[in-house]
Amino acid sequence: MGKTTYRDALRQALSDSMTTDPNVVLIGEEVGRYGGAYGVTKGLIDEFGPDRVIDTPISEPSIVGAAVGAAMSGLRPVAELMYVDFIGMTMDQLANQAAKIRYMFGGQIGVPMILRTQGGTGRSAGAQHSQSLEAYVMHTPGLRLAMPATVSDAYHLLRQSMAQPDPVVFIEHKALYATSGELDDQTPVVPWGKAHVPRQGDDLVIVTYSRQLHYAISAADTLAKDGIEATIIDLRTLNPLDIDTIRTHVERCGHAMVVSEGVMTAGVAAELAARISEECFDFLENPVIRIAGEDIPISVSPLLETNSVPTPELIVDAARMMRS
């Protein structure tokens, strides 16, 4: 497919899935005529019609609940939550219903739905439109969690998510939609549940996902000039978590940093740090360092916003402190 954008790759994945499987329907606010708040679903309503690309009223709890019911009735719904910040009003349907139905009903049925949404900072959108709330999802057994960082994963990870037998929360990053990259259909892609290691070095492992991957890569370039060579792990999915890949590299390097845009306390970075600390205890020469969002809401002021989440500079400084 060649060079494309994260946004277009997502659209392509939806379109390809819809073409192959007539049970795939999109349901959400502005997914149809408007084409999605971030343009991801643009044109799909023309291609697949309003019965499969369903514009809804502004009713997040019922959108997710309708997706649950649809998935139990043989469809493969892709529900869209315009901002992950709105997940709070859907957590009952997501965590008490979608996540638990297979289990509570003794394995009678699964809920193969996707909840597509986007999060993160970068648009001065303020405290209620800039959050990274993946920790709520990761803490909920029964929900898979995928977070693509690259154009390739915008396509492949979404396709993989759509093949899952269980509910997947798929969180895009608002600052990545316009990023571009190569999308090759031919090369073997990283399988579902496996991390990707785009860079290998011996001094330090940086475990990350979503937009922070790019910050980590840019930090690693800077660090390389100081002679600090980092391995970078892009987790791709937080559930399943590819602990084997993490362990292999951390045992080799002895220094680990986890980088997440979500708020630090009781967040994804906490889980990753705890996990690495327990799995690789005897190999660690330093505590696992958590670089994460500050324990504060996000401001609209761009200056404050930028400094409320990890920056490449912070990653560089932390790595230097670790390896000094």
């Binding site: 649950v68 009735s73 219903q97």
Partner: protein, 341 residues
């Protein structure tokens, strides 16, 4: 085992009697200490809602219920033994002992699940309706819930969607006048609940929940309309005969109200009607009742004798069996500490 007669009302009566007797046995299971917990909500007094609407549905239709959903499930054909086993938390039960009374379900019978979240199962029927439309099936989906669920905003969202998309969906509110200790007039300024659906574009109606024939009739009409793209909201008025759950003695309502409420008995009413119409005589009804009692008695022993779940089944069915189960805390511990020695 369903008793079949030549009288339609007698069939409805038989099903209501089965529900009544089943619920009484659930109470006994609890008293014998064999239920899994005390969160048992009996639908005694509400049998006409379950049977009236249930009988108006077809094979292939689906439904969701609430924490007080035994009756509806039986009306849709549940096996009372598997229900009782589930209520006892046994492996043999409908949900392998994981779900219990409040999370019982059976995909084969179209039961998309009871729900312990008030209002939780309501939006599922919107999705089921979308699926029916997408698959050009003529099946319908019914959400059953209590009057208390009219406090939950999700009901209005779902009704709005159903009307907007003209879905084959029926919302059935079993108004037993109480949400726990709160009488409906302490939960809203206007207890005429059916009116709320109309401005969203649904059909709205309310029916006497002691009259199973009346319930069946209006449910039939509304289901026909719903299949034709005009969804509805039906309120079945009845009375919660006993406490909210097995432990609740309803101290918040006075005895006079309660005794009067219990006179609104759909089972007795159907029985009296049958006899006064001469459709069936008292001794035949007694015999029917005894057969039902025997069947329901047996559910208790069935449940008591049923197998306990295997301990390590706790890790099954969190995810699809094709994927690895979660690692246990103990397993991880042994692995992590083990490898250090």
């Amino acid at each position: 085992m369903e008793t079949q007669t030549n009288s339609r009302l007698a069939d409805l009566y038989a099903m209501m009697r089965r529900i009544r007797t089943f619920e009484e046995r659930v109470g006994e299971l609890f008293v014998r200490g064999q239920s899994a917990g005390s969160m048992l909500h009996l639908s005694i007094g509400e049998e006409a809602a379950a049977v009236g609407v249930g009988t108006a549905m077809r094979d292939g239709d689906t439904f969701t219920t609430h924490h007080r959903g035994h009756g509806v499930f039986l009306a849709r054909g549940a096996d009372p033994r598997l229900m009782m086993a589930e209520i006892a938390g046994k492996e043999t039960g409908y949900c392998s002992g994981k779900g219990g009374s409040m999370h019982i379900a059976d995909m084969k019978l179209g039961h998309l699940g009871a729900n312990a979240i008030v209002g939780g199962g309501i939006p599922f029927v919107v999705g089921a309706g979308l699926a029916a439309r997408q698959k050009s099936s003529d099946s319908l989906s019914v959400a059953f819930f209590g009057d208390g669920a009219t406090g939950q905003g999700i009901l209005y969202e779902s009704m709005n969607m159903a009307a907007l998309w003209r879905l084959p969906v029926l919302f059935v509110c079993i108004n037993n006048q109480y949400g726990m200790g709160t009488r409906i007039d302490n939960a809203t300024a206007d207890p005429d609940l059916y009116k709320r659906a109309i401005p969203f574009g649904l059909r709205g109606a309310s029916v006497d929940g002691t009259d199973v024939e009346a319930v069946a009739e209006i449910a039939g009409k509304m289901i026909t309309d719903a299949r034709a793209g005009k969804p509805g909201f039906l309120v079945v008025d009845c009375y919660r005969f006993y406490g909210h759950a097995r432990m609740d003695k309803s101290p918040y309502r006075d005895d006079a109200e309660e005794s009067e409420g219990r006179l609104r008995d759909p089972v007795i009413k159907a029985r009296e009607t049958l006899i006064s119409r001469g459709e069936i005589d008292g001794s035949s009804l007694d015999e029917m009742d005894q057969n039902i009692a025997a069947e329901m008695d047996a559910t208790i022993d069935f449940a008591a004798d049923a197998r306990e779940p295997q301990l390590d089944s706790i890790f099954d069915d969190v995810y699809d069996p094709s994927t690895p189960p979660p690692e246990s805390v103990r397993g991880r511990l042994a692995r992590i500490l083990g490898q250090r020695q």
